[in-house]
Symmetry: C2
Subunit: 158 residues, 2 copies
Amino acid sequence: MGRLQRELRQNRPFQSTAHEAVVGLIRTADMVRRQMTALVGPQGITLQQFNVLRILRGAGSEARDGVPTLEIADRMIEQTPGVTRLLDRLEAKELVRRQRCPKDRRQHLCWITPKGLALLQKLDEAALRSHEESMKGLRAKDRATFIRLMEAIRAPHQ
Amino acid sequence: MGRLQRELRQNRPFQSTAHEAVVGLIRTADMVRRQMTALVGPQGITLQQFNVLRILRGAGSEARDGVPTLEIADRMIEQTPGVTRLLDRLEAKELVRRQRCPKDRRQHLCWITPKGLALLQKLDEAALRSHEESMKGLRAKDRATFIRLMEAIRAPHQ
DNA sequence: TATCAATACTTGACATGTCAACTATTGTTG
DNA sequence: CAACAATAGTTGACATGTCAAGTATTGATA
């Protein structure tokens, strides 16, 4: 009887290795997600909102021109249909600024505000520590393997 | 520049291997979750509801006595505060039956109904295929490694 | 045995997620 | 250049998730 099966106190064995991998994956991600949520929550934002802010900061050179809404949706770590409303809330908190694109008036361009940047900076260190904490069960070499295996999982689905 | 960084079209590199592992993990799990959701959705249930049904079926020998609500919460793959309402909806669909425990009237015991069992049976094959599909990027040996690495990640957090 | 803490939920209030339908604007094609 | 499709997003309706506070019941203690 495997460890995961014990964790979930199930009496049936997994139907296949693939099944065990899927369940383990969802369970592990949930754990890590919760850690991150606990980190950003006290600052009044959700994990998704945090992700949007990081996208806007991380956009790099193109950040000056602003990032269109759907471009943000595309870059989200987790697929998120409700980006508009995410941005509404971030704008209400003055962490993000939006403006219609003059060249293509269908687009809305987004920027992170100085207030948003300050919030991210405040979270940066804690996030770094949190990631280390989440992955403390793996040594450097195993982390690299883990990353590689997940890329192999995602590759056929793009 | 790593593959994941390209996937997310970020111009900033990851701050650490742990960071890349965390982001990859959440992203990969989201992908797999979506596949599963797409599978069970057409049957009118959510992934969490599906999980509850599988818990009730998988409870094994103790299933005769029924499973208390909080026991279900404990066994969920993903931590879920709203088990009561999950059960409400499942009961409304007649996939689950509930009853007060006579020995401890605080507890509510739950069983899967024949209708619930039939629904699970209908989904079993498709779920098996879906798990294979999700993990098709990994060969058998890599799957075992992957499972082991995730257990190592979770172990320090129990 | 009355009181108090702990357990096992349930409920309310509110934020978030999700899907489908809708609007505005821009490209494309006969 | 008019008509139509495609793009980029918004909005509405509803389900789900989440947190805090409330209720019923049981166990432990003075």
